[in-house]
């Protein structure tokens, strides 16, 4: 029962976030600086969109005269039915882009596939390499181990866009080893590109992995040292258990706990796509779509991305909570 309440709590939270996003976009005044692709149509569709109520019911009175009068503060209950922006957002089907008039869901899910094509291999590489590196660094007491750790610390502070730009300059412009731009594959399915030209994925994946690798490895190394200082570790060793056995049975669960906590915080950015990477390498993922939508004032797409990210993040939080309660050796 507790878990069911928790689940619905998370879903409620996601819906609240989407509602805040809708409210914010409805307050936007079209600016002269916006880079509209099709200024006239975007403006018109945006104004039409704004004329539809935001939620199922309204309480705010209709302000006939914009001044401070007592009448303006009396709530005015109105039932809007299903003809509202929030309903359109959560039912997915009918919402169309303000700019291209395509179905928003179709555009976003196409981008989501691309984002996942980058993020999932990156995550897999990240987990395995950080596991391996943390064990290796904690075992090694030589100069190489120290150097690797120092390098990782440096990588954590490198701005991602600068790292990506430098890698492009080095590997694409100077030695022409890996291509930097996926601009020719914008309308292609991700699987064709991944199987046919995997070299396009090398630099984006490297850029996704490196900054997080430093953080995650550092976290794991610290966890290993902390656990080794615990009483149960010394007691287990004194009772004749081998260090390898302890590492296998005790350390892994503790490490997984830390990783889960980190992963929970990273879910929104994973789903939202790495804005920087997708923009530098021109990958047609969620991050690039979001930046384009913001710059072209395509608020329907923006709201849908926020909604999808919030819902998937909250589901991720719930699964992560379940996972932590399952693997936590203290429970």
């Amino acid at each position: 029962m507790k878990r069911v309440v928790q689940f619905f709590g998370y879903i409620g939270l996601a819906l609240l976030v989407s509602l805040i996003s809708l409210w914010l976009t409805n307050r936007i005044v079209p600016s002269e600086n916006s880079e509209f692709i099709n200024e006239e149509s975007t403006d018109r569709s945006f104004e039409v969109q704004k004329s539809i109520p935001i939620f199922y019911f309204s309480l705010l009175p209709t302000f006939n005269e914009p001044k401070l009068s007592f009448r303006n503060f009396i709530p005015e209950w109105r039932w809007n039915g299903v003809e509202n922006q929030f309903h359109q957002l959560i039912t997915i089907r009918s919402m169309r882009s303000n700019v291209t008039y395509e179905l928003v869901a179709q555009r976003v899910f196409h981008s989501l596939k691309w984002t996942m094509a980058i993020q999932i291999p990156s995550l897999i590489i990240l987990f395995f390499s950080s596991f391996f590196l943390s064990f290796w660094i904690s075992k090694r007491h030589n100069k190489i181990g120290k150097l690797v750790f120092q390098l990782l610390v440096f990588f954590h502070s490198v701005p991602l866009f600068w790292l990506a730009s430098c890698l492009v300059l080095l590997f694409s412009v100077a030695i022409n080893l890996f291509p930097a731009s996926m601009v020719s594959f914008i309308h292609s399915p991700w699987s064709d590109v991944l199987l046919g030209s995997p070299q396009y994925f090398v630099l984006p994946i490297v850029c996704s992995v490196l900054p997080s690798l430093a953080f995650l490895t550092g976290l794991m190394v610290d966890t290993q040292f902390q656990i080794r200082d615990e009483v149960f570790w010394t007691r287990a060793l004194s009772q004749g258990l081998q260090e390898n056995q302890l590492r296998q049975f005790e350390l892994k669960s503790h490490l997984l706990l830390r990783i889960s906590a980190w992963f929970t915080g990273a879910i929104p950015s994973i789903i939202g796509g790495s804005l920087i990477i997708e923009n530098v390498f021109i990958i047609p993922g969620m991050g690039r779509l979001l930046v384009q939508s913001l710059k072209t004032s395509d608020w329907n797409t923006v709201n849908f991305i926020v909604f999808l990210t919030a819902v998937l993040s909250c589901i991720g939080f719930f699964i992560s909570d379940l996972f932590i309660s399952k693997i936590d050796p203290r429970q």
């Binding site: 705010l60 300059l169 530098v280």
Partner: protein, 395 residues
């Protein structure tokens, strides 16, 4: 390994602190070093400080004469003038000297870090960019502290204490909160807000607190805990993809000014500060001296102000350092994506972004990035060294 890590951090601490101080100094006084505006001017027996004052805001002989010469200070004659160390216009566009590589000269000027595609000096542009970046991030951190640290610590101080309130007081409080939200919503829709209204709010708040205090003494009591407020605040922001909301807020409020961007960044920094403040307050609330201070009759506010806030703030120092590091990266990333400051304002991110179209200008990508990297790394390592020191103190 742990000792080696500490050794490494200790070895870096001094040069890092020194370099950070140097960078702060340089960026604070960058207009004294590079620029075209004099530091001090005596013109027609009046003294002016063009670098630190807006001379066009008041009618003066200097302002009037400058407007006649297109605001070019060098075209006027002064009785006394003190120019910056390097007389160079950083923001001036000169396509004749564009794409110059580092250590090159053009038209009698020497360019240590080269020029960008608009012919701007990269060294000066980097310092100007760093100045705006540090200004935005420092302001964001201060606002974030005000929004996150003080309310969260006050609420969390009562987090695990179960409070009792009378039913009448509870209903009154709930109605009051609903009414406040409602009034704010209506006023925001009307776009009407002035100081009279704010003072009315303040008087209303004081009166309400007085009534609430009276009502709390009537009837049956119910128990409640404050902790859910902080947790709700933290969870809402946790579910929000932060960078998306930064974009949305910047677009919604059309904040191209540094203070607006600072405020938006602060809104997303505040929950992180609130989360750690909460943990620290709960940890220190159980300290023996705090419990004895309570039993001696000190008020809650006195305990917070004298005993709790200094300790919590010390706990937050490493976090603030980490946050500063990530804020610098976030701010430059925003500028890189073209969201944030106006295009004509120089920022480190926009310098790198504009160099994307000219891959041969490697210096335009390398140097601004190196500066961001160095300052972000310095803050990160300072935070880390502080964390290690606090661990050592505990040990």
């Amino acid at each position: 390994m742990r000792n080696r890590k500490s050794e490494f951090i200790n070895a870096l601490r001094k040069p890092l602190s020194l370099s950070l101080m140097l960078l702060f100094f340089l960026t604070l006084f960058v207009r004294f070093l590079i620029g075209t505006e004099p530091l001090v001017v005596v013109y027609k027996n009046q003294i002016y400080f063009p670098v630190i004052e807006d001379i066009y805001s008041r009618t003066s002989p200097l302002a009037q004469d400058l407007l006649n010469v297109q605001k070019d200070f060098s075209k006027l004659e002064y009785s006394t003038v003190l120019w910056p160390l390097f007389y160079k216009s950083v923001e001036e566009i000169d396509l004749g000297r564009a794409h110059l590589s580092p250590m090159s000269s053009s038209g009698g000027s020497f360019f240590l870090l080269g020029t960008d595609e608009l012919g701007r000096d990269m060294l000066g542009a980097c310092f100007y960019g760093l100045q705006s970046s540090l200004w935005i991030c420092c302001m964001a951190l201060i606002i974030g502290l005000l929004l996150g640290f003080i309310p969260s610590s006050m609420v969390s101080y009562h987090a695990y204490k179960v409070h009792s309130i009378s039913k009448a007081g509870l209903w009154f409080g709930l109605i009051l909160i609903a009414m406040t939200i409602w009034i704010l919503l209506v006023i925001s829709q009307l776009n009407f807000m002035n100081w009279e209204l704010w003072s009315l709010f303040l008087i209303g708040f004081i009166l309400s607190m007085f009534i609430l205090r009276r009502l709390n003494k009537i009837g049956n009591k119910v128990s409640f805990s404050f902790d859910f407020i902080t947790l709700l605040y933290i969870n809402i922001f946790k579910a929000i993809p932060s960078i998306i909301f930064i974009f949305l807020l910047i677009q919604t409020y059309q904040t191209n000014q540094p203070i607006g961007i600072s405020f938006v960044l602060a809104l997303l920094t505040a929950p992180v500060i609130a989360k750690y403040s909460r943990a620290s307050v709960i940890k220190h609330s159980a300290d023996a001296d705090l419990v004895s201070a309570q039993s001696l009759g000190l008020t809650h506010f006195d305990i917070l102000r004298r005993h709790l806030w200094p300790r919590v703030f010390l706990d937050l120092v490493p976090l603030l350092s980490y946050l500063m590091s990530s804020l610098i990266i976030t701010e430059s990333s925003l500028a890189y994506l073209g969201i944030g400051l106006k295009p004509e304002q120089i920022s480190l991110g926009s310098l790198i972004s504009s160099s994307r179209n000219y891959p041969a200008d490697w210096w335009a990508t390398l140097f601004p990035g190196l500066i961001i990297f160095w300052i972000s790394l310095s803050f990160y390592l300072l935070g880390w060294s502080r964390t290690k020191r606090s661990f050592e103190e505990i040990a």
